[in-house]
């Protein structure tokens, strides 16, 4: 399998070196595996920090900057970061108003962030966490590790980042993050599996005319597999799953997200179907994103995330943001 890499072992470090060279607004510590705002901590501001396995770019490091994250901690590919990374990032970026961890609900991420939070608390730095679990493909029950954190992570990072920028206290920022998560749902469909640099082969088998429904973002298989259909048919499956869980009415933010290997033109085809579906349901799309925001390496496919907005969340969404992957209003 061809990849634009030098060595499977050094992909994360090499990519961080590239990020450092490409984005002077970031301070990249390749050795400690942390990406920080080059401006350093701002006194009195809650530091919003996230992290997770690599391979989901631009998540999370691409969202470090004004109005969004203060720091990101990239792990190995599809592997959560280690507590030392979060600790170091928090110590360097906290401005005396506490630290908010944005954590995607995966066992590894949860455990490593918990260990970091305990260590930070011992050092007297106040810390709160928002757990993102928006993926409706997983039933939230005692029979699973709970719903996965997927597309809503981008929304939580944007909106908590905007609120933190106003100098809001940690508790408010954390509650708002939870609110965004509670109002958001996602569903993903893969046309192909992805290939991790270390394995060099597809993470699961999928026939040439099959699609995988309810995928996550780590190349893990989904819940079911069906014959491939039209974009309209696939969007209906995704949107029905979301609508069943969170009735789609009122003002909504929609993110049609590519999994990494799907061309933008197909994402627009998908977006047209999503918009038509929402119109049919009587919901109003007031904010939208179409592109690669939370990916799974070179997987082909898409996910849809819908968030039911209110006036306050809309204002926070519209607030200026200046990061490598998301920028407006500044």
């Amino acid at each position: 399998m061809k990849k634009l890499i030098n060595d499977a072992e050094s992909v994360v470090a090499d990519a961080l070196t590239g990020m450092a060279a490409a984005h002077p607004s970031l301070s990249v510590d390749v050795r400690n595996r942390i990406v920080l705002r080059a401006t350093g901590p701002r006194p009195g501001k809650v530091a919003v920090i996230s992290g997770g396995g690599s391979g989901h770019e631009p998540l999370h490091a691409g969202y470090v900057g004004y109005g969004m994250l203060d720091a990101a901690c990239p792990g190995e590919i599809f592997t959560s970061p280690v507590p030392d990374q979060m600790l170091e990032a928090a110590k360097r970026m906290h401005g005396g108003a506490g630290v908010l961890f944005v954590v995607k609900n995966y066992t590894g991420d949860v455990l490593n962030f918990e260990m970091a939070a305990e260590a930070l608390a011992e050092e007297g730095i106040e810390v709160a966490s928002v757990l993102v679990n928006d993926d409706v493909a997983v039933q939230d029950s005692v029979y699973t590790a709970g719903r996965r954190g997927t597309g809503a992570t981008v929304l939580v990072e944007k909106i908590t980042g905007a609120l933190a920028e106003t100098g809001a206290p940690l508790a408010d920022v954390a509650i708002t993050g939870e609110e965004v998560n509670a109002r958001s749902r996602s569903f993903g469909i893969a046309l192909t599996p992805c290939v991790t640099p270390a394995a060099g082969e597809p993470t699961f088998e999928l026939g040439p005319n099959e699609v995988e429904l309810g995928i996550g973002i780590h190349g893990e298989p989904g819940r079911t597999r069906i014959p491939a259909g039209t974009a309209r048919e696939l969007v209906r499956i995704a949107m029905d799953a979301i609508n069943e869980d969170l009735p789609l009415t009122g003002d909504v933010l929609v993110m049609v997200n590519g999994m990494g290997g799907t061309p933008q033109i197909e994402l627009y085809v998908v977006f047209a179907e999503v918009a038509a579906y929402l119109r049919e349901k009587g919901a109003t799309v007031t904010r939208r994103l179409v592109g690669n925001y939370i990916t799974s390496l070179d997987m082909q496919g898409f996910s849809v995330t819908v968030c039911r907005l209110d006036e306050r969340l809309t204002l926070l969404w519209d607030a200026p943001v200046e990061t490598p992957a998301l920028r407006w209003g500044r």
């Binding site: 396995g53 792990g75 190995e76 590919i77 599809f78 592997t79 959560s80 970061p81 280690v82 507590p83 030392d84 995966y106 066992t107 590894g108 455990l111 490593n112 918990e114 260990m115 493909a137 997983v138 039933q139 005692v142 029979y143 699973t144 590790a145 996965r148 991790t196 270390a198 394995a199 993470t203 699961f204 996550g216 780590h218 190349g219 893990e220 298989p221 989904g222 819940r223």
Partner: protein
Amino acid sequence: MDTRFFAAWLEECARVVHEQRDYLTRLDAAIGDADHGTNLDRGFTGIRQALAEHTPPTPGALLALAGTTLVRKVGGASGPLYGSALRQMGKALGDAETIGLAELADALETALQAVRRLGGAEVGDKTMVDALSPACAALRLAVAEGIKPQEALSRAADAADQGAKDTISMQARKGRASYLGPRSIGHQDPGATSTALILAALRDVAVAWAES
């Protein structure tokens, strides 16, 4: 069993995990995210490096260092779980310079409790607990019967191996495999498998130790 014995165990773990790296990763690809072998290999290689720089004086301190190294190097769920298991084992062994079989059995039980507490898994959830729990039970029984360490650890390793095989028919309820629901059935759990390998390494070192 002294510090050298436990250092030999960790060394053997590093060797076996490296050798079985691709096998563990393949098991993980079927129901997880295809990195278990790679991650554990990185962790145990880290332990090997840490011990080359500095070997702590007691078995307890040695295992605590090994656990901390795993937490710092591995990431994912296996870093905190195996890391905490070894750290708690080390803590349970205290400052003793030599460890008897009964203390080792107790320490392993402490490791099991740490894993269950952190991961929230019970027997039957298709996790490393399914290998570790029967191994602890077998070791406790062997201690009560008063048999030789190498035989006792051999029984523990067999129980872990059987426990790992038993995960094939289980539906995962924890970790990433749980997202698959019934599709997780028919695959051996990679975490239970690595636990069985680690306990087989303990047996092998005990047997070699008894022979020398």
